[in-house]
């Protein structure tokens, strides 16, 4: 087990810079998810921690000890890969035994440890098979078993379950969470799936364009995103963004859009003051509703209703803004119907207009 600290970490591939000098700290036994779209630098960051990529600039410390020049095999880091990376020519047993054999553990001890981890991972009946015959769920469990068999100081997981089908994914997610709770490994989990990140991690590190956008506990990332990128990337269905004017009111601030005015809650006053005239407001689909009382009601024309059984997604046009809102399954407005839409200002978010292009990059 180890704590990890990164200082002004930079990764360059030739002229391309993938990671732009990031700083972070991960406590011993903490489970951190690195979340971001492809190309955001999350995998480069992980591979630098593993020692598979050279660190271009900056430092990484394990338990306060600088590991830049420590080779991958000497860092005691285990990793499980998206593609499982099982050695195809040898049996499952030998796959799991591989790290022990390269550490020259004696055969009796290898056998004991392999069988022990196989038991925990429900792999005992598969030990004599070659990786080729395994289902993807089994292959990933073998990958995890091989990673865990030597008791790593840091356990890295690179998109470990993105190849699994939905049902397997839920199973595996719980399994990984239980591993962490049982053994208290320092775990870093790279994913582009925000649901996985929020569900599993103690803290989520959201990355984009080689920079850390926010690093915080899941609740905070969800409810108090630091910028428009985080707000747009985290949350399903995606948050609604709309342009607004920011105006001073007696004793506070308000936003104006579609000719309506909404008084801002106090926590947004400072933000409003910084932003000045043009703002980018955001509200999650769960905090919009149809027909409920609120300080601001808008008339919206229903564009489409998606019935998802446990909830309905309604897309409504308010002027030229299209909002998505989550409604109770009993609420099924027809296309073209005019409905009252209310916004819960307690959950409203406000960003500078200049961040609008960051939002565009999520969709792309």
């Amino acid at each position: 087990m180890a704590s990890i600290k990164a200082e002004r970490l930079v990764k360059r591939y030739g002229a391309v810079q993938a990671v732009h000098g990031i700083d972070f700290e991960i406590a011993d036994g903490e489970f951190v998810a690195i979340l971001g779209p492809s190309g955001c630098g999350k995998s480069s960051t992980m591979r630098m921690i593993a020692g598979l990529e050279k660190i271009s600039e900056g430092s990484i410390y394990f338990d306060g000890k600088r590991v830049n020049d420590v080779r991958a095999r000497d860092r005691n880091v285990a990793m499980s890969f998206e593609s499982y990376a099982l050695y195809p020519t040898i049996s499952i047993y030998e796959n799991i035994a591989f790290p022990l054999r390269s550490a020259n553990v004696d055969n009796r001890e290898i056998d004991r440890q392999v069988r022990d981890i196989a038991e925990k991972m429900e792999l005992t009946s598969l030990l004599d098979l070659k990786p080729k015959g395994l289902s993807s769920g089994q292959a990933q469990r073998v990958g995890l078993a091989r990673a865990l068999v030597r008791n790593p100081a840091v356990f890295l997981l690179d998109e470990p379950i993105s190849h699994l089908d939905t049902r397997q994914r839920y199973r595996m997610r719980r399994f990984i969470k239980s591993l962490h709770q049982k053994f208290n490994y320092t775990m870093i989990y790279v994913t582009h799936d925000q649901e996985e990140a929020l569900a599993l991690a103690d803290r989520v590190m959201v990355m984009s364009d080689g920079e850390i956008q926010q690093m915080a506990v899941p609740d905070e990332v969800y409810a108090r995103p630091k910028n428009a990128f985080v707000a747009g990337f985290v949350g399903e269905p995606p948050i609604n963004f709309f342009d607004c004017g920011v105006v001073a009111e007696p004793g506070g601030w308000a936003i104006e859009f579609q000719g309506r005015r909404l008084v801002l809650p106090e926590r947004l006053h400072a933000t409003a003051q910084q932003i000045g005239a043009g703002g980018l407001a955001a509200i999650r689909p769960h905090f919009l509703s149809i027909g409920e009382e609120s300080p601001l009601r808008l008339d919206g024309k229903v564009f489409i209703t998606e019935e998802l059984q446990d909830q309905n997604l309604v897309m409504v046009d308010v002027g030229d803004i299209r909002f998505t809102l989550v409604a109770h399954p009993s609420v099924m407005p027809k296309r073209g119907e005019i409905v009252p839409v209310s916004i819960d200002p307690a959950h409203l978010l406000l960003f500078p207009r200049s961040q609008a292009d960051k939002v565009g990059s999520i969709a792309a």
Binding site: A50, L52, A72, R73, F81, A85, Y87, T89, S102, R146
Partner: protein, 286 residues
């Protein structure tokens, strides 16, 4: 009825074509083997005789009078040595091209482009170089002068290496990087990763490349003919020596040719399993 006729016709056509193609391939080989057992008076008659009293006379002539096994020995030494060098150097080069993209693709293209000019274009400079190098102390020590095995080993290595690298690169590219990453984290050094993880996976590809290289070297004629006289001559040159002033000794030529085909035939049959695996390895994934 009509249906059956047309499907019968189609099957007939299919087998007809197979027989035709097989005929083209098998007939010359069969002809060579049959001729090698014919007594001299039956060799060049028209129409050809297929009923004759088989004799080993041609083999006796080739092996004892012409000392043909000497050429086999030379060829074996030269082509196996060259193949081993090609495989080792080629694998290392191909691995670095596949993994580190050395030279950004330009170097790989340059290496392959050396295959684009005909061998005969360089034969004269090769001749001159080996003649001069062979006179130096180092050249004599390494046996790389004219009519010495080293000259042919170097020539074959130079000429087979580009093709081998080109073939091997795709095999190495097909091996997932994650496997190497995983092995490095599991405690192996880079060289151990190459030996324990990469090579076993690339084995079918390396086998295929080795077989091709060996066959090319074994069958090569031009360099062997120009660069050797007696001491280092290979089988192809050996067969040519049967074209004497007194005429072409067709019977012994056939016997010698049969002898020189045999080792490769046995070798390829033994390697067939790997070759098919190696040849389809890239295709299936691509």
């Amino acid at each position: 009825m009509l249906q059956r006729d047309s499907s019968f016709a189609r099957e007939a056509l299919r087998y007809g074509l197979i027989v035709l193609v097989l005929g083209f391939i098998v007939f010359p080989i069969a002809w060579m083997i049959i001729t090698s057992f014919k007594p001299p008076e039956d060799v060049m008659v028209s129409p050809p005789r297929f009923l004759f009293t088989p004799t080993l006379e041609n083999y006796v002539h080739a092996i004892y009078d012409k000392n043909f096994l000497f050429y086999i020995k030379n060829t074996l030494f030269i082509s196996v040595t060259s193949t081993v060098i090609v495989i080792i150097a080629g694998s290392l080069a191909a691995y670095s091209f596949a993994r580190y993209n050395v030279g950004d693709g330009h170097l790989l293209f340059f290496i392959l482009s050396t295959k684009m000019f005909p061998a005969i274009a360089v034969i004269l400079p090769y001749f001159l170089i080996f003649r001069d190098v062979g006179k130096t102390g180092v050249g004599r020590f390494l046996g790389i002068g004219l009519d010495q095995p080293g000259a042919l080993i170097i020539s074959y290595t130079v000429f087979n290496l580009p093709f081998a690298i080109w073939l091997l690169v795709s095999f190495f590219q097909d091996i997932p990087r994650e496997l190497e990453h995983s092995a490095r984290l599991d405690g192996l050094s880079r060289l151990q990763v190459l030996a324990k993880v990469v090579c076993p996976l690339a084995a079918p590809g390396i086998a295929v490349t080795g077989v091709f290289t060996l066959i090319f070297s074994w069958n090569e004629f031009l360099f062997a003919y120009i660069l050797t006289r007696k001491v280092a001559s290979t089988v192809t040159v050996g067969v040519e020596s049967f074209f004497t002033l007194q005429g072409i000794l067709w019977g012994p030529v056939a016997a010698a040719a049969t002898i020189s085909v045999l080792p490769m035939l046995v070798f390829v049959l033994a390697m067939q399993r790997y070759m098919v695996r190696g040849l389809t390895f890239g295709a299936v994934r691509g």
